[in-house]
């Protein structure tokens, strides 16, 4: 017998039994009618659950704001976050990749030493991953790195002790190596460089660390990198017109207030007076702050509150009112209250020192306080007071860079409505008489670092070096300061006192002393 071929329709109908009861029939009918709705509901439920899981995960990631805690206060100062990373920083993976992408800017090295960042070994003797002054924070699931207080306030000094030359890292001294101008220019230019596009950047990130997972890669490609570039391009559009018309700052120097005006206060550069556009000055030392409370702080003495000065400096490092880590800053500030500078290694002739002290007490102590056997005396008629620019006569660019307009903005907008709101900023007409503790680490001198040594400072302005190289941390035992050989204008790293903001005139105190007195005075100053 020929086998019968079963049709598809029959097969389908065979696969489903007919209902036995009227209830089943109704249920089947109901199921058929409602199946699309059930599928839709199931789909919505699945999407909802997946969405909820993703949402919760994302919320968890986005809510992450963690930073390493350092038990040791010096480690805290060097490496702990002050809250600058979220709005100003670089994702760590990108930070690591930049040397590979831009070898010409890094001198071929795979670290940031080319910009003067300082690297040291950790407690186990292994080189640290991040330099001093670069803190790390996990924010919204991304590790971000950026500046803290130590960026601008940790320097080096090479000392010859017992015939052995050692390079010491000194927290609290000015960052005499950091070429912030070059670093900022590099960062801004990188933002506009095609090498920072996701493809090449991700390749470099994978080459300089663990390969990104696919989710991470998506996050970096579509969120982190575009956001970073957008931010850099915006900052570039604001800062570059300023930087382009400033002489390079050189190592150990920064223009504190002009970038502040453009970035934080959103003041258009076109509305600024050309006279205020160069505010470059030396990084100050930040030793022993307790006696300084109430003195006029900053080079121009525009604030008398340590806390406000600290917070203002943190804004310069990149924190915002939303991201600032007050606890971290206050921990550092508490430590700085009593951080004494390391003692001077100079051992000048004690008799000369004694004579020099007499000279100093007559000519200088009223303004600067004095060094004694049991430490620095923060006393003097006008110590910590502002000397008018007419009287002191030093370069006025830094003074002019701080304006009433900026002050008004600072007082009305920063930390508005909080206990941190600024109250003490004022516009002065001169520079502050500053205590000279730790003087041996504070070269070059004057607010703008225009005078390489103490001996030069005691020379009449016209005789002070007009062109000198400013990149050594080697002590000049004869002259007091760091070795600063002469150079020619335009030479790389050559400090030209003819440039705007670099004037080395003024502060002619003691320049007219007899040579013997000057020599004694110098001997005494070397003990500071």
């Amino acid at each position: 017998m020929k086998p019968r071929i079963i049709s598809d329709h029959e097969l389908r109908s065979m696969s489903r039994e007919p209902p036995v009861t009227a209830t089943q029939e109704a249920l089947q009918r109901r199921w058929r009618l409602w199946t699309p709705v059930y599928i839709l509901l199931a789909l919505i439920a699945v999407i909802g659950i997946v969405g909820a899981v993703l949402g919760v995960t994302l919320l968890w990631i986005v809510s992450q704001n963690r930073t390493p805690h350092y038990a040791d206060i010096v480690e805290h100062f060097k490496y702990a976050s002050i809250g600058a990373e979220p709005t100003s920083g670089f994702p760590y993976r990108i930070w690591r990749a930049l040397p590979k992408l831009f070898p010409e800017a890094f001198g071929g090295r795979d670290d940031y030493a080319a910009f003067g960042f300082l690297y040291e070994n950790d407690a186990n003797g292994r080189p640290r991953d991040l330099p001093i002054g670069i803190a790390q924070r996990e924010y919204r699931g991304v590790e971000i790195v950026w500046f803290n207080c130590a960026t601008c306030h940790t320097g080096t000094v090479t000392v010859n002790e017992g015939g052995k030359t050692t390079r010491r890292i000194v927290p609290g001294m000015p960052s005499n190596n950091l070429d912030l101008y070059r670093f900022v220019r590099f960062v801004l230019d990188a933002g506009a460089d095609e090498r920072l596009s996701p493809d090449s950047l991700i390749t470099a990130m994978n080459a300089t660390g663990k390969k990104l997972g696919w989710i991470e890669e998506i996050i970096y490609r579509w969120y982190v990198i575009p956001t970073l570039r957008e931010g850099l391009i915006q900052r570039r559009s604001r800062l570059l017109p300023l930087l382009a018309q400033q002489p390079g700052w050189g190592p150990g120097r920064v223009d504190t207030f002009n970038p502040y005006k453009l970035l934080q206060a959103n003041i258009p550069i076109g509305s600024l007076d050309p006279k205020e556009l160069v505010g470059t000055a030396d990084f100050p030392s930040i030793f022993y702050q307790r006696p300084r409370e109430g003195m006029h702080l900053h080079w121009d003495g525009n604030n008398t509150s340590l806390a406000e000065r600290n917070l203002s400096a943190a804004l310069g490092a990149g924190v915002t009112a939303d991201t600032v880590d007050h606890a971290s800053i206050e921990r550092t500030a508490d430590w700085l209250l009593d951080l004494r500078p390391p003692p001077s290694p100079y051992r000048p002739d004690p008799a000369a020192v004694a004579r020099g002290r007499d000279v100093y007490m007559r000519a200088c102590a009223g303004c600067h306080g004095s060094q004694g056997a049991d430490g620095y005396a923060f006393t003097g008629e006008t110590i910590g007071q502002v000397e008018t620019i007419d009287k002191i006569g030093t370069d006025r660019f830094r003074l002019d860079s701080y304006t009433e307009r900026l002050r008004d903005f600072q007082l009305s907008e920063f930390f508005k409505g909080t206990k941190y709101q600024f109250k003490h900023f004022e516009k002065t007409n001169g520079y502050a008489n500053i205590p000279l503790d730790g003087l041996w680490l504070r070269a070059p001198y004057l607010h703008n670092g225009s005078v390489p040594t103490l001996a030069d400072l005691l020379a009449p302005p016209a005789q002070r070096p007009k062109l000198f190289l400013r990149k050594s941390d080697e002590l000049d035992a004869a002259r007091g300061g760091f070795v600063a050989p002469a150079c020619t204008a335009g030479q790389a790293g050559c400090f030209n006192t003819q440039d705007r903001g670099n004037g080395n005139g003024g502060h002619a105190y003691g320049t007219d002393l007899p040579d013997a007195d000057k020599s004694d005075l110098l001997a005494y100053l070397l003990t500071f």
């Binding site: 009861t21 009227a22 209830t23 109704a26």
Partner: protein
């Protein structure tokens, strides 16, 4: 000493019952699939007749196979069942009790349809599915109504032919008559729906048809729900009020009813009927027998089985019962109806204490009481009362486990507190199977290939 009113005869127009105790309708799946009754049923009914009840009201007896509530219960849809029912009547009579057949039709309230009914939706006044279990149904046509009226009349005739003492129309508790009567269920637009008179038409037509079939000399009583409380499932309408039922009672009397039997609730079971507890563990073990019967049964099963879901059902179920006693739960309604009619009124609902029953009758709240669960627990309850006890030593606890076992297990008392152990309880359940029928070798003609 004056005679105890409980044990004074109750005289109806066509019937005298020796006392005021009526065994209310209750039974189990004792009978054959074709609707013929068995020895077990006879044993069951005689248990109460022997115990002293004045009259036995049978469990619901469908007048048509399509009106069965649970398969396995005896029916009265065939003339050849008359001798069987006669045998039952004789047996009950032999213990000195009367036997009243409760004529019924499930309508949409069909718990276990059985092979006859599972392939078709049940007939009802409405096509809206039953609210608690989701039993499906179809509104009856005029012809189907007529056919059903006739079936009731024939059922009554068969009862009379079997020598039974009367019939009761089960027009309470959510079955077909309630489905017509209740404003919460009946959504018909014809002569059998709408106004109260229209909704009562089916019941009154049946009473008149029975009278036409059996004459006025045969006892006919009507069991009605005095108040529907149809909104057990909260979104359902409330149904008929007491005033509606009082009017229906008057119409029944006028149409030829000899007595009224007053219950509560337009569903069965209902929070108010039978009143008492609700054992989730029991129903979890038995409700599976009903899962295939309705479209909402699986939902209920889940509510019963999973403890986390039980509070929801518990709240829905017990919210109506607050403030009401279990014993004599419907006495106020019976009294209201009794006031409105001139025929005897029976009250049902938790009766078990002699003094309370006595007080109810003496105060004119009712003329007699009908009892099911308390008699299942103590079939000789009347004897305790006659001996002067107010309550038996191990009274019914109203746990309702008898009710919740009905769809799956033999009828009897399942209250574990009343038995020393499970085996003793099962032994009690098995007593009705004890007197076995005489088994016979079938003739060749009896065997259908």
């Amino acid at each position: 000493m004056t005679q105890d009113v409980i044990f004074t005869p109750l005289r109806f127009r066509n019937l005298e019952v020796k006392n005021r105790i009526f065994r209310s309708s209750i039974s189990g799946r004792f009978d054959n699939e074709d609707g013929s009754l068995t020895q077990t049923r006879i044993n069951w009914e005689c248990k109460f007749a022997k115990g002293g009840a004045g009259a036995i009201i049978s469990s619901y007896v469908p007048v048509l196979m399509e009106g069965r509530i649970i398969a396995g219960y005896a029916t009265v849809h065939r003339d050849d069942f008359i001798p069987l029912w006669k045998r039952l009547g004789d047996a009950v009579h032999s213990f000195g009790a009367k036997f009243i057949m409760q004529l019924s039709h499930s309508g949409r309230q069909m718990d276990v349809p059985g092979v006859h009914n599972y392939a078709r939706p049940t007939l009802s006044s409405t096509s809206r599915k039953e609210s608690l279990h989701g039993f499906l149904c179809r509104a009856m046509s005029r012809q189907e109504i007529d056919r059903t009226i006739h079936a009731f009349a024939r059922g009554a005739w068969r009862a009379r032919e079997a020598g039974l003492d009367g019939v009761e129309l089960h027009a309470a508790n959510g079955y077909l008559f309630t489905q017509f009567l209740s404003a919460g269920i009946n959504d018909r637009k014809d002569d059998y729906g709408g106004s109260l008179a229209n909704r009562a038409r089916f019941l009154l037509d049946v009473i008149r048809a029975i009278r036409a079939e059996v004459g006025s000399g045969f006892h006919l009583q009507v069991k009605i729900s005095a108040i529907d409380y149809n909104n057990v499932v909260p979104w359902e309408g409330k149904g008929n009020t007491l005033d509606d039922s009082v009017q229906v009672a008057r119409w029944c009397e006028a149409a030829g009813a000899d007595a009224l039997h007053v219950s509560l609730g337009s569903l069965f079971p209902h929070p108010l009927n039978p009143p008492g507890d609700f054992s989730f563990e029991t129903i979890s073990a038995t409700y599976d027998a009903m899962i295939s019967s309705g479209v909402s049964t699986m939902r209920n099963f889940l509510l019963f089985r999973y403890p986390a879901l039980r509070p929801l059902f518990h709240w829905i179920w017990f919210r109506m019962k607050k403030g009401r006693p279990v014993e004599g739960i419907g006495l106020d309604e019976a009294r209201a109806i009794k006031k409105a009619v001139n025929i005897p009124v029976l009250s049902t609902g938790g009766w078990q204490t002699a003094s309370k029953i006595r007080a109810a009758i003496e105060a004119g709240g009712c003329d007699g009481v009908s009892i099911a669960r308390s008699l299942v627990a103590n079939p000789d309850l009347p004897k305790f009362w006659a001996a002067g006890d107010d309550l038996p030593p191990r009274p019914c606890t109203y746990c309702n486990r008898c009710l919740l076992n009905a769809p799956k297990n033999p009828m009897g008392c399942y209250e574990p507190k009343r038995f020393p152990d499970h085996d003793t309880m099962v032994e009690q359940l098995m007593t009705i199977y004890k007197a076995h029928p005489v088994l016979q070798v079938p003739s060749p003609a009896d065997i259908v290939p």
